[in-house]
């Protein structure tokens, strides 16, 4: 009995130590950043926080995501009217997906089988079967669809249209819009909480972030942002992320050059972190100990330590960094 207890303690200690090492030391992860103006992909090493290389890809690359097995990168090459499939190790383009015109953002379902693409100029969402590399359907939505997200429980796909000012709720089984929620002016990004109970949506021109209840599809909270010394006209929320345990949420506030830290339980702003100029999009590290931000005007990314809520470094990457994805 005592022996097994000791073993238990030992195991726990080892786990604790390795965890501590993992969390305190810089993680050996790779950060991929699309460079809208350079037609390239920047590759940053998480451990050294250095730009490792820049790889030429399609024209005007914006949205980016990794497959759930981290073996492939998908990049929306907007001016090539395609989603490029890039091998995440060799960084060579190995194929394209028929995304429809001017793809900007897209979302993968949790299994990595389907992709939902916003076609901004055509007011459509294109649904792609990734294995078949084939478009299954184009779903008409509001004017200028942008933010798109799939709920972790696979029940919903939402598309936010910037000029219509709506969130469109798409049933992934029928691929039809079944409900619409009118939100604040110029919705940009949307993300579900990991329990699929809430949808967080940023509104760029209204300067707000709204939390929607997924069951009722109603707005349950509208957050506003006030930063001392920053004019209200600079409050233009874009990227939004919520951590797995719904403890903290983060909103990139564009030209305010800040990331808002939100208490995801109380739905209140807790702090503002100063990052680079015109912060657009956000990505967690796989262990969610860090947050990476793309800063479109200062041409860099900021690295935020989420345990301390401190910006620890910025890394110059190239012109107009837009999207970011992180591979362990």
């Amino acid at each position: 009995m005592t022996g097994s207890l000791d073993m238990n303690i030992l195991t726990k200690t080892v786990i604790f130590l390795s965890l501590a090492l993992l969390l305190n030391g810089a993680p050996a992860e790779t950060i991929f950043v699309t460079l809208e103006k350079d037609n390239a992909l920047a590759v940053v090493d998480g451990e050294s926080a250095q730009l490792v290389k820049t790889v030429a890809i399609g024209r005007r690359p914006r949205g980016i995501a990794l497959s759930p097995d981290y073996r492939r990168l998908y990049v929306a090459a907007s001016d090539d009217d395609a989603i490029q499939i890039i091998d995440a190790d060799s960084l060579t383009v190995i194929g394209t997906l028929p995304s429809g015109e001017d793809p900007e953002t897209f979302a993968l379902d949790p299994d990595g089988e389907r992709m939902y693409v916003s076609n901004e100029d055509d007011n459509l969402v294109t649904v792609i079967d990734i294995a078949e590399q084939k478009a299954l359907k184009q779903i008409p939505v509001g004017v200028e669809p942008e933010g798109i997200a799939v709920s972790p429980d696979r029940k919903w796909v939402v598309s936010a249209s910037e000029t219509t000012n709506m969130v469109h709720w798409i049933d992934p089984k029928t691929l039809e819009v079944v409900a619409n929620t009118l939100v604040d002016t110029r919705p940009r990004a949307a993300t579900f909480t990991s329990d699929s109970k809430q949808l967080w949506v940023t509104a760029e021109i209204a300067g707000t972030m709204q939390v929607l209840d997924v069951d009722s599809k109603q707005i349950i909270k509208t957050l506003t942002f006030k930063i001392a010394g920053v004019g209200q006209e600079k409050i233009q929320p874009v990227g939004v992320k919520v951590d797995r345990v719904r403890r903290w949420g983060y909103v990139a506030i564009g030209p305010a050059n800040r990331v808002a830290v939100i208490d995801a339980q109380k739905l209140e702003v807790e702090a503002y972190l100063l990052v680079g100029h015109r912060v657009w999009n956000l990505a967690f590290s796989p262990d969610q100990s860090r947050l990476y931000t793309t800063n479109g005007v200062s041409n860099d990314i900021s690295i935020i330590d989420l345990k301390r809520h401190k910006v620890i470094k910025s890394v110059a990457v190239g012109r107009y960094p837009w999207g970011v994805a992180v591979k362990p």
Partner: protein, 403 residues
């Protein structure tokens, strides 16, 4: 879409029938279904043919459909949104021939039940229709004038102005000049009435932002490129020292000849050179590139200021209909003029109407031919309520008295 096509066809018929327009127009059967279809909102577009301006060069094609293309795009956008709100929007396009009377056409639209009229008319025509008893119960969306008088002593509670006034444009320019410390201006004024109005706005802006107009001259030379450019401009600008030449030539008769030909090497701004404008093809920030793309796909050309203003007018109507969940005129009007109203105009800020004169408050672009130089209001120009109100006549200064 079918309805819009019919209306376009009708407008085409009007245009081609020329002088017989009015008789034909007045006898045309009514097809506005507002009374029995509560989710339908009909919008009218009223314009009058204009004499084609003398072409300065062959570089820019003459545009015959400025304004209407923006309205058409916005109707389409409203209907895309309307699919989800069960609202539909149609556009009736009326082009009054050169020699015909715009008042008759306006009265006919009012009689047909139109309550929203997007007007691309001259200041004189606008003043005439806004004073009509038929205008009392409707809203006129002015997408063409820039006159401060129409937003001041001659204002009307029935009119909303979508384009920035001359004062707003001049203030935008002056803010940038102050930032650059180009404070000593050489003001060159063209021969037209509008040029004098533009010059007055520049003088007002100069005073507000601490500029000095060191020299002011009226252009008296020819408008012949060969003569003017090579000999007249250097002589005309000789013997004056200044930071920047500011030109008021709205018709574009000589302003383009000034740059690179002045006696001293100085930049040019105003109606030519660095231009304050509501919209420009160099503008691509804040999602503007999307609007530029959608517009070009539809119209096959760049979007003009009037197209942008018409797009905004129809979008504002659509936004009010969406937010109020209604096509009722009084509800839409109350919402448009209320505090909650905001329309996104691809300029990074909420646009709304000034309660004191119906002017759309908006950022003003400062554009060079191939580069967007700045967007006013510039950083640091503060206002107790809304920084957009650092441009143009603010509430305490307005001469507009809306009943």
């Amino acid at each position: 879409m079918r309805i819009i096509l019919t209306e376009r066809l009708k407008a085409h018929i009007f245009r081609s029938t020329g002088a017989t327009l009015l008789a034909f127009f007045l006898s045309f059967p009514l097809n506005v279904q507002a009374a029995d279809e509560p989710t339908h909102l009909p919008v009218a577009y009223l314009t009058k043919e204009r004499e084609a301006p003398t072409a300065l060069s062959n570089l820019d094609p003459v545009i015959h459909d400025s304004g209407i293309q923006g309205a058409r795009l916005a109707i389409e956008d409203n209907n895309t949104t309307g699919r989800f709100t069960n609202q539909s929007f149609t556009l009736e396009e009326v082009v009054v021939p050169l020699e015909a009377d715009v008042v008759q056409a306006f009265k006919a639209l009012a009689a047909k039940g139109y309550r929203h009229v997007v007007a691309r008319l001259s200041a004189a025509d606008l003043v005439r229709i806004q004073a009509l008893p038929e205008a009392t119960d409707l809203l006129i969306y002015d997408i063409s004038t820039r006159d401060d008088a129409l937003r001041g002593q001659e204002c009307s509670a029935q009119v909303l102005h979508l384009l920035p006034s001359r004062a707003m444009r001049a203030d935008a320019l002056a803010q940038y000049m102050l930032k650059k410390r180009w404070q000593n201006w050489f003001l060159v004024i063209g021969p037209g009435d509008n040029d004098r109005l533009y010059a007055s706005a520049l003088k007002r802006a100069a005073k507000r932002f601490g500029m000095r107009i060191g020299e002011e001259k009226t252009w008296t030379h020819t408008f012949d490129a060969r003569r003017t450019a090579q000999s007249d401009v250097p002589v005309f600008t000789q013997g004056v020292d200044y930071d920047i030449l500011v030109v008021a030539d709205e018709a574009g008769l000589f302003g383009e000849y000034l740059a690179y030909r002045t006696w001293l090497p100085r930049p040019v701004a105003g109606t030519q050179g660095l231009v304050p404008t509501a919209w420009h093809r160099t503008h691509e920030q804040w999602g503007a590139v999307q609007l530029q793309n959608r517009f070009r796909e539809q119209a096959g050309r760049w979007m003009t200021e009037e197209d942008y203003a018409a797009w905004l007018a129809v979008r504002a109507i659509g936004e009010a209909a969406t937010r109020t969940g209604s096509v009722d005129h009084s509800r839409i009007k109350a919402y448009l003029l209320g505090d909650a109203f905001a329309v996104a105009g691809f300029k990074g800020k909420k646009l709304s109407f000034r309660s004191w004169n119906g002017q759309l408050r908006q950022p003003v672009l400062l554009a060079a031919a191939r580069s967007l130089v700045a967007v006013a209001p510039l950083e640091g120009f503060l206002h107790p309520k809304n920084e957009l109100d650092t441009l143009g006549y603010d509430e305490p200064e307005t001469k507009c008295r809306l009943e």
